[in-house]
């Protein structure tokens, strides 16, 4: 048997050598090669400087990626006038790294470094051109009290905002790159010793196996991280608020920061997280609980209000008290369509108006609101296309849908509403109930980062109910969410 083992080993060795032979040899590292690799790029520049002590020096960079003012001040000027004999001493104000491979050099150029040829070696000096807006107030999750800062497109700046709030060395940040073309930097954040390692492992693995060419946004990344791609429900939370990210990290979640995106991705989340707002923790707990309950009610209300109107008017007239029935019959007496088409027409009109107002400039958007709300609404009633009562239903439903803090969730509820509308027209209240049960089963089967989506309901975690539908006083919320299985259960530092 020994000879067989040796034979197999030699075959394997031969195979490896063949594979190695097939791979093209890496080109030698030289400035000429780099220049050639970046030819036909109009702002790729080469500057040659003759220094008395260092000899001929060549600088290569892409002008649009490099901070030209810093380059002039910290690199070119010292190289022209310095009398040091060492490169590092000459440009001591900036970080200088020696390059060893062509790939390193290419990546450095593309990330905003200047390639410097001196002392017969290649060096990189990191001088990225930081194009960024200032730290502004969050538009998506604006609150009255509490911190006002929000993320920008600059990933380092976003990381700074988080690190300022969490000045601990346990806050770990792993850099990953996604996108074969976009080479997007993604930073995976978690608190070591608190976040469940299993979650970190899943997050890391899911991010590292992504094979796609371009990532321009956190939503795009989320699509590749989701467990259920066909669901209408968002399985990750997106926020541009550093305080929300820190709250998520300290509760044992993981966070992704994506370069050139002002939104962070939080996971795993539950269905109930989508109804929480940072302001919940600013209000008195009774008020916060009331507002949170109101949001859940509004979500359900927005979904079922119009379908119930259709079910009642098409199938279950007998469910209405006689006085209300008279009002409804009078309102609908001259409408030529059945309630389903009437409701569908009004809902689609509303959605068109909402979508148009989002795409239009803000001043025109206001005009559109007036045109849509008053003119179309009034005209539809006057033209006997829709009843007064339906207009009220649609308006109340539209306002209720805005109570949901998560915009993605608002849009999900719209889609469910159309499904329920069809079921209501077909099977009345029974159809609506069937639709809601199907939504419930769907939610029951969902997971976010492999964690159950409707926890703490199923599986049931009694302690997590302190911060789900109601928000109890912070002093009573002594434990972190159990469904996250954090390594440190208690929020109070003296307990483990």
């Amino acid at each position: 048997m020994h000879w067989l083992t040796k034979l197999l080993a030699s075959i394997q060795r031969e195979k490896k050598q063949q594979i190695a032979r097939k791979q093209p040899e890496a080109p030698p590292l030289s400035l000429e090669y780099i220049q050639q690799a970046f030819q036909n790029i109009h702002d790729a520049k080469t500057i040659e400087i003759n220094n008395e002590f260092l000899g001929n020096i060549a600088l290569f960079y892409i002008r649009s990626l490099v901070d030209v003012r810093q380059l002039q001040e910290f690199v070119i000027f010292p190289l022209q006038h310095s009398s040091h004999t060492s490169l590092r001493e000459t440009v001591s104000a900036v970080e200088v790294n020696e390059l060893n491979t062509v790939e390193e050099a290419e990546q450095a150029v593309l990330k905003g470094s200047v390639i410097l040829h001196a002392e017969n070696r290649l060096w990189s000096i990191i001088l990225p051109n930081s194009v960024s807006r200032a730290i502004e107030t969050s538009e998506q999750e604006s609150i009255i009290y509490g911190p006002k800062d929000s993320f920008s497109e600059q990933i380092d700046q976003n990381l700074t905002l988080i690190r300022r709030r969490l000045p601990i060395r346990a806050l770990k940040s792993e850099e990953l790159t996604v996108g074969s073309l976009s080479k997007t930097t993604v930073i995976l954040l978690y608190i070591d010793g608190l976040t469940n390692p299993e979650l970190i492992g899943i997050a890391r693995e899911k991010t590292s196996v992504i094979e796609y060419d371009t990532f321009l946004d956190t939503s795009h990344l989320a699509h590749f991280l989701e467990d259920h791609i066909c669901s209408v429900f968002p399985q990750f939370q997106q926020t541009d608020r550093p305080d929300a990210v820190v709250a998520a990290l300290t509760s044992g979640k993981v966070v992704w920061l994506v370069d050139n995106t002002p939104f962070a991705l939080i996971g795993p989340i539950t269905f109930f997280d989508l109804f929480q707002s940072p302001e919940d923790y600013i209000h008195r707990w009774v008020v916060a609980s009331f507002l949170r309950g109101l949001r859940f009610f509004a979500f359900l209300f927005a979904m079922v209000l119009t379908p119930i109107y259709v079910a009642l008017t098409m199938h279950h007239y007998q469910m209405m008290p006689i006085e209300l029935l008279y009002v409804l019959l009078e309102s609908r007496s001259q409408i030529p369509f059945n309630p389903f088409w009437e409701a569908l027409f009004m809902l689609l009109t509303l959605e068109i108006l909402k979508e148009a107002s989002l795409r239009m400039p803000s001043k025109s958007g206001q005009t559109l609101g007036v045109v849509g709300g008053i003119v179309i609404g009034q005209a539809a009633v006057a033209a006997k296309i829709a009843s007064n009562i339906l207009i009220i239903h649609v308006a109340v439903m539209a306002i209720a849908s805005f109570l949901i803090p998560n915009y993605l969730m608002t849009n999900s509820s719209k889609l469910i509403q159309f499904g329920l509308l069809i079921l209501a027209a077909w099977l009345g209240m029974w159809g609506i109930t069937l639709g809601l049960i199907l939504v419930l089963i769907h939610l029951h089967g969902l997971t976010s980062l492999k964690q159950p989506f409707i926890s703490p309901l199923v599986p049931f975690y009694a302690t997590d109910w302190k911060d789900t539908i109601v928000r109890l006083p912070s002093r009573w919320m002594i434990q972190r969410p159990a469904y996250l299985k954090p390594l440190k259960r208690y929020k109070f530092s003296k307990r483990k």
Partner: protein
Amino acid sequence: MPLAQTLRMEGRLANEGHWPVWLGWIIVNRFQIVYYILFLPHVLIYPYMIWIIPIAALLSHLNLKVLSIWLQTPQARLGGAGFTQLLGGFAVRLLAFLGIGVILMQSAILTLSYLDIVHQTLFPSMSKATPLILLGLASLYLARLGMTSVGNFAILAFIMSFWMILIYVQFLLPQKAVYEHLFPIFPQNVPHHILSNLLTVWAAFSGPEYLAFAGKRFAATAGLFRWLALGNAVTALEYIFFFVITLLFYGAEYLQKIDLPVVQIVRYIELPFFERLEMIMVSNYMILIIFMNALFIHYLYDAVCTAARFAHKPKSALGLTVAAILLVSFMYFFSKYFWVLESEQNRWTTLHLWVSGATYAVIPSFLALAACLRNKRRADK
């Protein structure tokens, strides 16, 4: 171990593919009330019959003790292999074959009875085929999430259905409640048909026997009995509650003349925006039927695989779909050919009562006895 800690640990285990032990009470409770809650007060008419409920509940309590003994045996924890170890391959296949018949019959009768109520309350002119197919699809959708998820769905089924009890509380209060209807609370003569009434109520407590085949699903079986007993006690309280409110509202004389008193009583509730709330209530009971049928799809799949000697193969989505199609097809043909006349329906309902009562009495005791004898014999050796 403190309760909170137990719940926390159990929650974790539930997340890892097991049912937490406390889930036992919800499954028992929802399985017991799935259908009988709607028509049981029609069977119990006179005030003194209220005593039948605690008597049946007590017997059920003892039966659950036997069931928990069986569930704690190593054979129950092994699942299908445990049954083969206990009874032998041939006997297991034979029983699985019988089980297919029982599952199909029970599922068909409960679903069709529910659809009759839907038909009567919501859509008198609609064919039963449409809601039957939709119920089947919803059950399949749930079943495809896996047996663990189906069991956990009991929590949602409970939350979605238990709140309805609040609607009825007003019938305990004066104006609507006539307290004289509660008397005589003790019979003045020897009551007739007491045994058949007891059988009906006993059958109304049936359902937990299906847990006998789900021993390996529980994360742990220590302390299981107290949770099963809790579920049984809640069911008994619900039955008593519904019997009392219908009796207080209708009185014994009128109660024996109406169908579905628990459903009909809701018609007397008037809200500013809605009336005829029974339409919402009956629709809402669908969640229990879907839950029950999803479990039946899994049991049917297991029974067919065992009978056909495919039990060793892992469960597949296709297999579950086939089981669901089999179940819905059976229900459809059953409704078309055997569930047409009222006399037929009564006959099948009576058969269902007997079968439910018998399976509930026999399955736990038979399995517990067989396991105890075998384990004792092994210990003697």
